[in-house]
């Protein structure tokens, strides 16, 4: 089972760890990711804010390349790329729009453009919870995690088909398959402030601050995210967010693929955990401690069993 893979620009830069952990998890689950050789930037928010046809042109170039690789589905980890690619695909169905976009491209786009879906949905579609659990060698039992999807992943509901736009549960099912205890996180689809961290920092800080505050109040060990920009706003800018809501945070913000990678037994460095600003070491120590206790308890139980067998 393999897909055409669209890594997205941040894969090489700010979310390299997301890239490494995604590839690791897909390797473990034997999901083939064929990277589109000369993929280009989807334009993210600036492109569609400037002009929808420009954003579509940038995205359709990628879809066209994927179509030439006759891939049925293009997979991308980043929700912003996912949203742009999907919107472009949908809008291209309108012949007038297709003509306007083709004017911008070197050659007219292929008639049948492949579907786009997120890595998370791709994993869920071809691997059952049992398959995932089978791969788990270091269960995350004892870790309380809040799943944070960000706003683009599930909206607009009709197009993204990501389950209930208000209350998606896909990350919960994946991570609980790895043994983690998932908290019912109410702000899972609130916006983190997206790319406004640069031009209008206070807005992002307040939004991210509120999300982190509620997560902290619920006493979770870490927040699992699926979007490079959310990760940056919650992790890199955690101090700015803390200042905005004047609450002290030390909340590790990991990609869900990093957590799954840990469960699959990958070495933290392979998953890029060292790249996190708020270090995940306390998390790892707690995990090891839990595992040691468990091993002890098992040994004692076996001993007791051995005793009276």
């Amino acid at each position: 089972m393999n897909f055409a893979y669209y890594p997205g620009c941040s894969a090489a830069g700010s979310s390299a760890d997301y890239e490494m952990s995604t590839r690791a998890v897909c390797r473990a689950l034997k999901i083939g990711l064929q990277e589109i050789p000369d993929w280009n930037c989807c334009g993210s928010t600036p492109a569609h804010a400037v002009d929808t046809e420009l954003s579509a042109a940038l995205c359709v170039r990628n879809l066209d390349l994927a179509a030439r690789m006759d891939a049925a589905t293009v997979v991308t980890p980043c929700p912003s790329c996912l949203s742009n690619l999907k919107h472009a695909g949908k809008r291209m169905e309108n012949p007038a729009f297709r003509a306007r976009v083709n004017e911008l491209l070197d050659n007219p786009a292929a008639e049948k453009l492949p579907e786009t879906t997120s890595v998370m949905q791709a994993i869920a579609s071809c691997r059952t919870a049992a398959d995932i659990a089978a791969n788990v060698c270091k269960p995350l039992k004892g870790l309380k995690i809040a799943a944070y999807y960000g706003c683009l992943m599930s909206r607009p509901a009709g197009l993204m088909q990501f389950g209930d736009p208000e209350n998606p549960t896909l990350m919960e099912s994946l991570l609980s398959a790895c043994g983690a205890e998932m908290v019912d996180f109410p702000l899972k689809t609130e916006c983190c402030g997206a790319s406004f961290g640069i031009p209008e920092r206070p807005m992002t800080a307040v939004n991210s601050g509120r999300i982190l505050e509620v997560a902290a109040n619920m006493g979770v060990d870490a927040v699992a995210v699926a979007c490079p920009l959310c990760q940056m706003n919650l992790d890199l800018r955690q101090k700015q967010a803390a200042k905005a809501v004047n609450v002290f945070f030390n909340m590790p913000v990991l990609y869900y693929t990093q957590l799954m990678g840990l469960a699959f037994g990958f070495d933290p460095r392979e998953l890029g955990l060292h790249k996190l600003c708020v270090s995940a070491d306390p998390l790892l120590q707690k995990l090891d401690a839990l595992r040691r206790e468990e091993a002890l308890a098992e040994a004692k139980a076996k001993a007791a069993e051995g005793g009276n067998a």
């Binding site: 830069g13 400037v50 420009l54 209008e200």
Partner: protein, 141 residues
């Protein structure tokens, strides 16, 4: 939305909220009358930009900086975007406090990632054609 209903074009196009919108489409999701508010905001932004009425210029400057790096390399180059943004908006101290942490964690790579085998040039041509068409149609790109 009330402004649009009443047709107060100037007041709407000059409002700040157009540029403060994160386009997260929560509004479209919750509207009891099924209005795609996010799309309305997006269209209003396009109309405002095309008529040159940008009330919060720094937001647009950031977009252009972002798109310039895409035009040049086919993919974003974070350092490049930040540099161009600082030049354009003269806000030289944006995120300076984050720079050390980001560099230490290799979050910001110095080397730009160029789309291989002609990809970057293709993207460049797309953006060039877009600008030419915008000029032909007498609209600000």
């Amino acid at each position: 939305m009330r402004g649009v209903q009443l047709g107060l074009k100037d007041q709407v196009l000059n409002s700040r909220s157009l540029w403060m919108c994160l386009s997260c489409s929560t509004c479209s999701l919750r509207c009891p009358n099924d209005i795609d508010v996010a799309a309305v905001m997006e269209t209003l932004r396009h109309m405002a930009r095309k008529e040159g009425r940008v009330t919060v210029p720094k937001v647009e400057k950031f977009w252009f900086s972002f798109l310039d790096t895409v035009r040049r390399f086919g993919r974003t180059y974070e350092i490049g975007t930040m540099a161009l943004y600082m030049l354009r908006s003269m806000r030289v101290f944006t995120d300076v406090d984050l720079a050390p942490a980001a560099l230490a964690k290799q979050k910001l790579g110095f080397k730009p990632h160029v789309t291989p085998n002609g990809g970057a040039e293709a993207v460049g041509r797309i953006l060039k054609r877009y600008e030419e068409r915008a000029k032909r149609e007498g609209v600000r790109p």
